[in-house]
């Protein structure tokens, strides 16, 4: 779980926010806060699929499905199982 979170945090900081040094905390809101915009959500979904072998459907790309790293990591873990 911790590894998943840190891998996601690294991806978001470097590829989406273009600020590799930016720390993202596990409970920081990502979508509702506007930190990740709709175009970047696709990138995140593709990264999750390639890295963890878990699919997130396009209808799930919203703050109701996940809004922080803890929620996203749990979603990934639950689908891996």
């Amino acid at each position: 779980m911790t590894e998943t979170i840190s891998s996601l945090a690294t991806f978001i900081a470097s590829k989406i926010l273009k600020q590799p040094n930016r720390a993202i905390t596990a409970d920081e809101s990502l979508i509702s806060s506007g930190l990740i915009d709709s175009f970047s959500l696709m990138d995140l979904a593709l990264y999750v699929e390639d890295t963890f072998g878990v699919r997130i459907e396009d209808t799930e790309l919203n703050a109701d499905t996940f809004d922080n790293l803890t929620q996203l990591a749990s979603l990934i873990e639950s689908r891996k199982a």
Partner: protein, 558 residues
């Protein structure tokens, strides 16, 4: 010459033809026949009449991708009112900013009514002020769903071809101050000339995900098909951005022939669509995908073609147009069926001497794609700073003349007068011509185009000054072309007094959030710097291009 209502009436001679198919993310596709469209629209005309709205008055529509948006728009037309579609509040935008933008639009445009959903009524009412122009807020669930169609009772039939039929607003704070007013005649002149350039015919099917509050979506992806009797398949931009493959699936399912896309969408589709979403997809019916509304890139066409070639996409399907709301839409169009011209240029003389010369051996060259030739009703000339026409291959400002120009910037005669010089509309775009082909090479104004949306750096800079820790005059915004994304990325640099990295990070986050919530864009690059980083001109103004060069130099060094 005709009017929108007259055209709708004549289209009703084939009432059962499907005019529009609406697509949604969670429900089945919804085909709407010409008869259903008119019967759905006529209650809105009735509601406007009952509310005392006069023909010729502006009605603002604040509605999402839906049947109701179609009915309200055409209902306003049938009543002879002037519809203007305003973007809906999205999750990312701050409601306060949205309200402020709406109030600004109301104060300039002076609409007599607003049509919106019951859930959104209180939001709309909170933007209204005592004594403003809005006399009625019409709520969609209080409008009858369908009525008898009685053309004789509809006031829209009294409109004349030269009357204003609709307003187009571009996004962004500055854009909201400028509604482009178009007449029935201007729109039909455009559609006739453009339809000819596209060899548009009744067998065509237009597939679009473009929002209707932009000219590309409103004209190419809405009015053109509906008024010319071509089947339109329409999906929501919000669904498309999460599932870009749906465009390909829809083209395959409905045997789509034409689509319009901004340049970034070519890269987005090429990079982000998975092959599993393309199983069984056949794109061989697509005869034109037209690149428009931001600078066109040959590389983006290549990437798109390579990705979708296995699914039947033909290279000559990829086309280009140069368009603007002030000319209703298209100014130029590449010739369908052949590949748009690409010229190779010597990079150095292009940048320093503003001339598009052929490449010289051993020196860096660059490729530029043509935007095609002017439509038959449009004249294009390239002019120097004094308004004199320049020779082929010399870069100057693009000036146009046509019979489909705007009537005015609505209630902004000052801007309308400034826009025309000796009967020519000065576009603010730089470009050059080679053998009748128009190449658009840059912009006069500091406008940034991100994914087809126009934003002004001064608006973004003003937003940063609202963030605690950033002082007025101490930030700079500019666009930086992103090769991978095929569009510009916005960069904001702001000076703060603190040199503490943690404090700087906090301000950077606050800027990113504030700008994203209060503008049309999502801000990615924020750089917080120590004081004295930003370069100023001798008169104390922020020099955007000098700061951009400094930023790029630091970026390549790091």
């Amino acid at each position: 010459m005709t009017t929108f209502p007259e055209r709708l009436k004549s289209l009703h001679s084939t009432p059962e033809r499907v005019a529009v198919t609406l697509q949604f993310s969670n429900t089945d596709d919804l085909p709407i026949t010409v008869d259903q469209l008119l019967r759905g629209a006529s209650p809105y005309a009735g509601a406007l009449a009952k509310a005392g709205i006069q023909p010729g008055e502006v009605v603002v529509l604040i509605l999402q991708h839906s049947e109701v948006l179609l009915y309200a728009f055409w209902g306003a037309i049938l009543h002879g009112a002037i519809p203007s579609i305003m973007p809906f509040l999205t999750e990312k935008l701050s409601p306060e900013r949205y309200r402020a933008d709406l109030s600004a639009l109301i104060s300039v445009t002076q609409p007599a009514a607003i049509i919106t959903y019951p859930e959104f009524e209180s939001e709309v009412r909170s933007a209204l002020q005592e004594g403003d122009s809005v006399r009625q807020v019409i709520i969609t669930n209080q409008v009858e769903t369908s009525t008898e169609l009685d053309f004789d009772s509809l006031l829209g039939f009294q409109r004349k071809p030269e009357d204003i039929v609709l307003l187009q607003h571009s996004s962004g704070t500055t854009g909201l101050q400028k509604g482009v007013a178009l007449s029935h005649q201007a729109v039909f002149n455009q559609l006739n000339a453009y339809g000819k350039a596209l060899t548009l015919n009744e067998n065509d099917v237009i597939v679009s995900w473009l929002p209707l509050y932009h000219d590309m979506g409103l004209i190419a992806g809405f009015l053109t098909p509906i008024l010319l009797g071509v089947h339109l398949v329409l999906m929501s931009p919000f669904d498309w951005v999460r599932a870009p493959y749906k465009l390909m699936q829809s083209v395959s399912k409905y045997r789509g022939t034409l689509s319009w896309l901004p340049n970034f969408a070519y890269n987005f589709c090429a990079q982000k669509i998975r092959d599993r979403h393309l199983e069984g997809v056949d794109l061989s019916t697509w005869r034109a995908v037209i690149n428009c509304s931001e600078p066109v890139r040959w590389e983006s066409h290549q990437a798109f073609y390579e990705k979708f070639k296995p699914y039947g996409l033909k290279l000559e399907t990829l086309q280009v147009s140069y368009a603007m709301a002030e000319n209703v839409f298209s100014v130029t169009q590449s010739s369908l069926g052949s590949i748009p011209a690409v010229v190779e240029l010597d990079r150095e003389t292009f940048m320093s001497e503003r001339v598009a010369k052929s490449p010289v051996d051993g020196r860096p060259a660059m490729k530029m794609m043509s935007s095609g030739r002017p439509l038959e009703n449009v004249k294009v000339k390239i002019v120097d700073a004094n308004g004199n026409a320049v020779a082929d291959r010399v870069i100057g400002e693009v000036a146009i003349q046509s019979d489909c120009m705007l009537t005015s910037y609505y209630h902004r005669d000052d801007l309308t007068q400034k826009a025309f010089v000796d009967g020519w509309y000065l576009t603010g775009d730089y470009g050059f011509m080679v053998d009748g082909e128009v190449f658009v090479s840059g912009r006069k104004k500091d406008m940034i185009i991100v994914g087809g949306k126009n934003v002004y750096p001064q608006d973004l800079e003003s937003l940063t000054y609202e963030v605690p820790g950033v002082h007025a005059g101490r930030s700079v915004a500019f666009g930086m072309f992103d090769e991978e994304q095929g569009t510009e990325d916005v960069v904001i640099i702001a000076e703060v007094n603190s040199e503490d990295p943690a404090e700087q990070q906090k301000v950077a986050d606050a800027i990113r959030l504030h700008v994203t919530k209060n503008s049309a864009i999502a801000l990615r690059y924020v750089k917080v710097v120590d004081s004295k980083w930003i370069l100023k001109t001798s008169s104390g103004k922020t020099a955007r291009s000098a700061n951009k060069e400094k930023f790029l130099a630091e970026l390549t060094r790091s």
